[in-house]
């Protein structure tokens, strides 16, 4: 395996790890907080 192959594989791996982290966090937040709270945002309000 050349350096370039390793670099390409590393890029795929980091991409996969980021994707997994975001999906896990998304699911975790969905479980920890009620849906009505997460979608309680109102236009123009902080």
């Amino acid at each position: 395996m050349t350096t370039w192959d390793m670099l390409a594989n590393a890029a795929w791996l980091v991409s996969a790890l980021i994707a997994i982290w975001m999906v896990v966090d998304l699911l975790k937040v969905g479980k920890e907080y009620p849906e009505e709270f997460l979608t309680s945002s109102r236009e123009g309000q902080e």
């Binding site: 192959d5 890029a11 980091v14 975001m22 907080y33 997460l38 979608t39």
Partner: protein, 479 residues
């Protein structure tokens, strides 16, 4: 409301945070667009030659100045996420709002995919030019880095808007100064005699006459496409009435300067017959100077510009998608805000695979050329449909709520001249697009007609008609 959620966050509702200033607005607008000076604008030359590209630069500049003026007035008054979607919702009606929201998401997601393709192509060039990789080895790097760039920027957006756009300030400013430095190093005052305008332009530099000038307007939009994205930050800026007009208009000035320098330097360094089909013209220009430092500078500038653009596109596409979810134009699930990071996290994650899919399929090579121009064309078409809505929007806005009837953060001068000019230039650009990409235009219009029927028949019943109008305005004239 759950007491656990209230106890954890200290509030019974959640929203986006007002943490941004005018510099972030500038970085969002210019960041999205500046990549257009590093790639894409040069397809105007393929359509009409170098002089046509310059005419397209100024005509499109006029079109976008009108866009910036109109947007600054409406957004400084309708200060909410969603940008033109929210404007359409308040001023025109639900069907127009739904369509405008989808134009925005499509334009920004396609642009994000195009940016990721550029990053992949730049990594490939770096491996071949600086690292000694063979063409096959370098080619293997492109797709992983197309994906990696989307994922890293999505993560940044997921974790907070302040850091996302602070990063954009730095990398956008770097990319702009890279363009200035290239000019300083190759201009007539440098003594290098690298610019060869007279030699290159002697060979029929307006090859298709005025028809070519008209055709070049299609890609002329690429010099500025996305500056209207500043509107999407309206719900996250501390002072919308000040920050949006200031950030948008200074952004437009920055882009006009960058566009003219880009045209001047690239057409002087690269024969226009090659420049018109180059994937990364500014990097190629850096290479042709023969200076290793300038080559590296333009590589970094191109990469930063592409990353800043993709970063801003993720921000804007997700805000438009989120706003549509919040109003039930789309499933309410997309209208969620992250309790820790205060970002529209579900909209961000949902759009990631779509951007990756367009990025990876767009990288498919046909006869040695990546399909960048096809991706760009779909982004331009979606943007153009959005700009066509703006004159209608502006005329209705001034008629329904005349000056003095509501507080406006900014009032654009010379109304209705910018509105009428924008309408005329949009019509002209539609003609230009139909000359080269008529089938794409028909395909995208058919898509929007079908999706509009779906919205009216199936989706509109879920829209919260009463809740979606939040502005404290008097009843409009005529209603």
């Amino acid at each position: 409301m759950s007491t656990a959620a209230t106890a954890a966050t200290g509030t019974d509702h959640i929203g986006l945070r007002r943490v941004l200033g005018p510099a972030h607005v500038w970085a969002l607008g210019v960041g999205i667009v500046l990549v257009g000076e590093f790639m894409g604008w040069n397809f105007t030359i393929d359509n009409g030659g170098p002089w046509a590209a310059l005419v397209a630069c100024f005509v499109s500049g006029l079109l976008y100045t009108c866009v910036a003026m109109i947007d600054s007035e409406v957004t400084s008054t309708v200060a909410a996420a969603g940008g033109q979607y929210t404007q359409a919702k308040h001023i025109v009606g639900p069907l127009m709002a739904f369509n405008v929201g989808l134009y925005l998401v499509l334009a920004y997601t396609m642009l994000e995919a195009a940016d990721a393709i550029v990053v992949g192509d730049l990594v490939k060039s770096m491996a071949a030019d600086f690292g000694g990789a063979s063409p096959e080895e370098a080619d293997k790097l492109a797709r992983p880095f197309v994906t990696l760039s989307v994922m890293v920027l999505a993560l940044l957006n997921y974790r907070g808007v302040f850091m996302t756009l602070s990063v954009n300030i730095v990398i956008t400013a770097f990319a702009f100064f890279a363009i200035l430095l290239l000019l300083l190093n190759v201009g007539p005052w440098s003594g290098t005699h690298l610019l060869q305008h007279e030699a290159f332009f002697s060979n029929n530099s307006l090859p298709y006459g005025w028809l070519g000038v008209l055709a070049s307007l299609q890609f002329g939009m690429w010099y500025y496409l996305g500056i209207e994205g500043t509107c999407q930050s309206a719900e996250e800026v501390r002072s919308p009435g000040r920050a949006i007009p200031l950030g948008t208009m200074t952004g437009m000035l920055t882009l006009v300067i960058a566009a003219v320098i880009t045209w001047y330097v690239c057409t002087g360094l690269i024969p226009w017959e090659y420049l018109g089909i180059a994937a990364t013209p500014m990097y190629d220009a850096g290479k042709l100077t023969g200076s290793w430092n300038l080559q590296v500078l333009m590589w970094v500038g191109s990469a930063f510009a592409a990353l800043a653009s993709a970063n801003g596109c993720i921000n804007d596409a997700s805000r438009a998608w989120f706003s549509m979810g919040r109003d039930r134009y789309l499933p309410a699930w997309f209208g969620a805000v992250h309790p820790t990071y205060h970002t529209p996290y579900r909209a961000i994650v949902f759009l990631v695979p779509i951007a990756c899919a367009f990025g990876l399929t767009g990288y498919t090579q046909i006869q040695g050329q990546i399909m960048l121009n096809q991706i760009i064309t779909f982004s331009i078409l979606a943007g153009l449909l959005g700009y066509t809505f703006m004159p209608i929007n502006m005329i209705r806005f001034r008629r329904m709520w005349p000056l003095g009837s509501i507080d406006r953060g900014y009032v654009h001068p010379f109304h209705p001249i910018p509105t009428l000019t924008l309408g005329a230039l949009c019509a002209l650009t539609f003609v230009a697009v139909s000359l080269g990409y008529g089938r794409n235009l028909l395909a995208i219009m058919a898509f929007f007609i079908v999706i509009s029927v779906w919205f009216v028949v199936r989706r509109y019943q879920f829209v919260r008609r009463g809740d979606q109008f939040t502005m404290n305005w008097p009843r409009p004239i005529g209603y």
